[in-house]
Amino acid sequence: MQKISMCVAIPAKIKSIEGTIAEVEVGGITRQVSVQLTPEARKDDYVLVHAGFAIHILDEQEALETMKLFEELGALD
């Protein structure tokens, strides 16, 4: 049985979109998800996938900022 934790959402990259269905790649596996809840999602975006839906478009800029914060703390040592 699949272990589906209910609030888990997985980052996935959109390979293509047709209508409301996107083909996404997660860790080398391709699957289809609905982009009804993220109508502004485009090819090459990373989205959080939960229960077969993209629920959020990951913000790459913010991800870099968070990484930078980690590194700044490291630099203080």
């Binding site: 589906i4 009804q36 939960h50 077969g52 959020h56 703390l73 203080l76």
Partner: protein, 360 residues
């Protein structure tokens, strides 16, 4: 995997941990609300690297765990409707209601199917036009919009044999209820990242304003959680409680407007029973009257006997952060992941299952 691996880098964790140790000069009790955080904290041994003065307690954030026995009994009884197909997320299968589980019903020949998405349930309804497919809607704001969108899709396709049993719940009101009980003294909350991806940060502001709670919306990787603890320690030290977002890559302050719109279109708030917390006003989501044709509760009027609770099970106290799993006398002896008594031992996200697997 991008957006995951870089947040598991042990090298980067050290300076964050050092800084937390430097800041921690008083006891700090923080509640992680979300079950996925509970699992991450246990799996990466985060309690062990934090100062002893920082106490992390689990809250009511595992959707399966807070589902009441009454709702579980209703789900089981749906499976017993002749000719029905019940579609559910996997972690509902083994959760015991008053006297059965969906897994047991399946073993007894009922058609209960595990799906990954509510859309799979929709497909089953289309493929089995002569039968009734009932999807069990369990989950918080992360999940409710996906079920909502599926109901709208069923409406668009004119399906008459697809139904949703909605046991969805919303998080902020439950946190208010928990604090109002006054049983547990907390300094702050590690708030759920993926619930917040939908609702944003505003619905939590009362926690800081009315209750003086430090609040950080956190991602799920170990570095995310450590950074959130650091941000919380700073808020407490500076005596400036507010709602901050650590998980900025995953959460926009306003949430996901489209998902919120779908939720409002499909559901309306109702009072609902939470395991451990009792009935909380306005924290349940029922299908709107206009969509009552898809509402399993209206379509199948089932007369259920009053729910029974398992003797000795202290899931309710675990969910309120009052005891750690190991403090329940059933833990690991009578109640194990193989033979669970309460939902907190069944769900992968449950505090008891996490404590059993990784040690508490």
């Amino acid at each position: 995997m991008k957006f995951i691996d870089e947040y598991r880098d042990g090298e980067k964790a050290k300076p964050i941990i050092d800084e937390i140790h430097r800041l921690a000069d008083r006891p700090l009790r923080l509640m992680e609300v979300c079950g996925t955080h509970t699992v991450s904290i246990a799996r990466y041994g985060l309690r062990q690297v934090l100062p002893e003065m920082i106490d992390l307690v689990s809250g009511p954030g595992c959707p399966v765990c807070v589902t009441s026995n009454g709702d579980l009994d209703r789900a089981v009884s749906m499976a017993r409707i002749p000719g029905a197909i019940v579609a559910t997320f996997g972690d509902m299968m083994r959760v015991p209601g008053s006297d059965s589980t969906l897994a047991r019903e399946r073993a007894a020949g009922r058609d209960v199917r595990v799906v990954y998405s509510p859309l799979d349930g929709l497909k089953m309804a289309e493929e089995n036009p002569e039968r009734k497919t009932i999807f069990l809607g369990v989950g918080f704001e992360t999940t409710a919009p996906t079920v909502g969108a599926t109901v709208l899709e069923a409406q668009n396709r004119g399906l008459k044999n697809f139904f949703v049993l909605s046991a969805h719940k919303t998080v902020p009101g439950a946190l208010r209820a928990l604090l109002n009980l006054g049983e547990i003294k907390l300094d702050g909350f590690i708030l759920p990242g993926h619930v917040s991806a939908i609702i944003g940060s505003r619905p939590y502001e009362f926690l800081a304003e009315e209750f003086g709670m430090a609040c950080v919306i956190s991602g799920f990787e170990p570095l995310d959680i450590l950074q959130s603890v650091l941000m919380l320690a700073r808020q407490v030290k500076n005596q400036k409680p507010r709602v901050e977002i650590q998980y900025k890559r995953g959460v926009h302050p306003v949430g996901n407007p489209r998902a919120l719109e779908v939720m409002v279109q499909v559901f309306e708030p109702v009072d609902v029973e939470w395991r451990g917390l009792g009935r909380i006003a306005g924290t349940g989501l029922a299908l709107r009257r206009e969509l009552s044709g898809f509402d399993a509760c209206r379509a199948f009027d089932l007369d259920l006997p009053p729910a029974k609770e398992a003797r000795g099970c202290r899931c309710g106290d675990v969910l309120r952060g009052l005891i750690r799993p190991a403090e329940c006398t059933l833990f690991a002896g009578v109640c194990t992941p193989r033979n669970p008594v309460g939902p907190c031992m069944v769900s992968f996200e449950g505090s008891c299952a996490a404590a059993h697997k990784y040690g508490s």
